[in-house]
Symmetry: C2
Subunit: 371 residues, 2 copies
């Protein structure tokens, strides 16, 4: 069930019309807002306007308190200065942003002596490996968490203003202290990004025909390494302390294992400890729908590489009234064939395997696993 969206009929000023800013304009307009759009690149404003995300801000800003709420959707380092200027010029009753780092802009304003009672940072957990207004969509925030980070100095109605916009965009607001947010997302997002990049970078010295033998494991583990370097470099710098600590929490145990392996001594115990720690940490990650980990089963099926084959397979699954918990498609090198991994509840596994085999599908394996 998709959460019903509330109305939000104030005037919203969005500064920065990239993927997030433009999607925000679209979502807010759908909720009833009057949306003004600004960007240092006027072509991006034109594109966002043509997509229906709002109208250009030029005419409206300049007058005092032109907007009820201003959202800064700009790179991390730009948020503090833009917010300071907006507060000094009284451009909006409440000023917020949607950056991946919360402490830096808050501290910037406080150290510049800027009044912060009507400033409140936020962070919708939406969008990835995507950029630019052309990919914007009103549904980007639907059913996603949206972290809001008021301080003791924040006026209550400023916080409520941001919470209201988040709900109007279909998101699930979560209140968090800015420092807690930054420490948490260093571990959940910024460090995984850097670890994936470091692992992928280490492959660059291998022979290409060797790397062609890589399986799904290393591909999944390095998927984040496709992300845009400049944005992530700025995020890491803006959250330097927690990111550095998070890197050490991953890299130092790895180097201890390397040293143990090189010493030909207690290597087995050290490696095993690391692997068992990994299972413990992994068990904390949300299963489907954020609930406790459930025992699921994985069933692998050979799928011919032609339009409709995967749909036929899933139709066969659906005809058994079995709900797919997850699905992944893997491919063999050099062969026009794929392996679909169907994840279902363990209870449904046997029925699924026999139904698929009965319908002529090649089921290559199936295993129970805690996801």
């Amino acid at each position: 069930m998709t959460a019903a969206r509330t109305r939000w009929e104030g005037r919203l000023l969005v500064v920065g019309t990239g993927l997030i800013g433009t999607s925000l304009g679209l979502a807010a307009r759908a909720a009833g807002a009057d949306v003004l759009l600004a960007d240092v690149d006027s072509r991006r404003v034109d594109l966002a306007v043509s997509l229906g995300a709002g109208r250009p801000a030029e005419d409206a800003v300049g007058s005092a308190a032109a907007a009820d709420l201003m959202i800064i959707a700009a790179p991390p380092a730009a948020i503090g200065p833009i917010a300071e200027d907006a507060i000094q010029r009284d451009l909006a009753q409440t000023v917020s942003h949607v950056g991946s780092v919360q402490t830096q802009p808050q501290v910037y304003l406080e150290t510049h002596g800027c009044p912060v009672s009507r400033f409140v940072g936020s962070h919708p957990i939406a969008g990835r490996e995507l950029s630019g207004p052309a990919h914007a969509d009103a549904g980007l925030f639907q059913d996603r968490p949206w972290v809001v980070c008021p301080t003791d100095a924040t006026a209550e109605d400023a916080t409520e203003m941001v919470l209201g916009l988040a709900r109007a965009c279909g998101a699930q607001p979560v209140l968090l202290d800015a420092g807690a947010h930054d420490r948490l997302f260093a571990r959940l997002s910024h460090v995984p990004q850097l670890v994936a990049s470091a692992l992928a970078a280490s492959l660059a010295e291998l022979a290409p025909e060797g790397v062609a033998l890589a399986g799904a494991g290393v591909r999944d583990t390095t998927r984040l390494a496709d992300s845009e370097p400049e944005m992530w470099a700025e995020i890491a710098i803006a959250n330097a302390g927690p990111v550095a600590a998070g890197i050490r929490a991953v890299a130092e145990p790895l180097l201890a294992v390397a040293a143990a392996l090189e010493a030909h001594g207690d290597g087995h115990a050290a490696v095993r400890r690391l692997l068992e720690g990994g299972r413990t940490g992994r068990a904390l990650l949300p299963g489907k729908h954020g609930g406790a980990p459930t025992v699921l089963a994985e069933v692998q099926v050979v799928v011919p590489d032609q339009p409709g084959a995967l749909a036929d397979l899933l139709a066969a699954v659906a005809s058994e009234r079995i709900n797919l918990e997850d699905l992944r498609v893997d491919h063999s090198p050099e062969q026009q064939i794929g392996i679909a991994e169907l994840v279902v509840s363990s209870a449904a596994r046997d029925a699924l395997v026999s139904a698929l085999r009965g319908a002529g599908w090649t089921v290559t394996s199936g295993a129970s696993t805690a996801l």
Copy 2:
């Protein structure tokens, strides 16, 4: 197209009836082989026999050259001693194994003065996060690479014997030097496993309600951390040198970035260099079917969490005659809803988005990306 399997009508002795050994028995029997099964745990032999993977080896072994080919499908450290015993007792004309590490058993035999002309290691790249004979399947090796590692001392017909079995199982044999294999799979498999475990282990100190906000990025990056600790500890020990070097190639650049972030100096350049190196390495990973990376587009669609919804979506995709290159399903915490990420060629993106929207689906975003 699934590769046609060749016949293989000799006598095969499989030692170790776990997932790989039992699957091998099933595949070889389907190709016409007489398969003998042995395991230190007689219950696993009974299960493998009941699954149709072969007959118990007790009666047949003991006589000289009882088998044409013996495959050891046992934990890494056990392979050398089992092979030595088999060669001394002349149990098979050719002795091979299917371990993840190639140098260790080869060196074990050579340092024990064992004749190695009829010993040749191999490594089918198949199966993961799965274990036990109950999950075995004759199709496990279908269209997967199968690395075979002869040395200068290996008799040509011994190598041919293993290549023939690999082809009979539907696999694609690849010849590699044992040392090259171990250095390559340290990077492609053993180190990604340890890195995923270290990253997942670092989450264990976070508050569970915080980890519940984790998105798909960290989940993908840590997926391998679900693997079985004892098996992977043995693999790391058996391939200690290349694994330690591979760990250093990942962890040392990460620590250099942490130091740069802590120094408040040249952090941006250091982080950006790491992220750009990651894109370079990632581009070497095989795209679909092992070919060069192609420009693909990702389209995200909201899918209600009910049986058949995903099948309906894929039927809508198929009715446009658009081929899915990849597919992933992501879920929002706490909400009974999923996001399906459809990966198609960039050329097909716009047609797909408009067709899906026309059919009433909520398309939340779509982006071009190099996969």
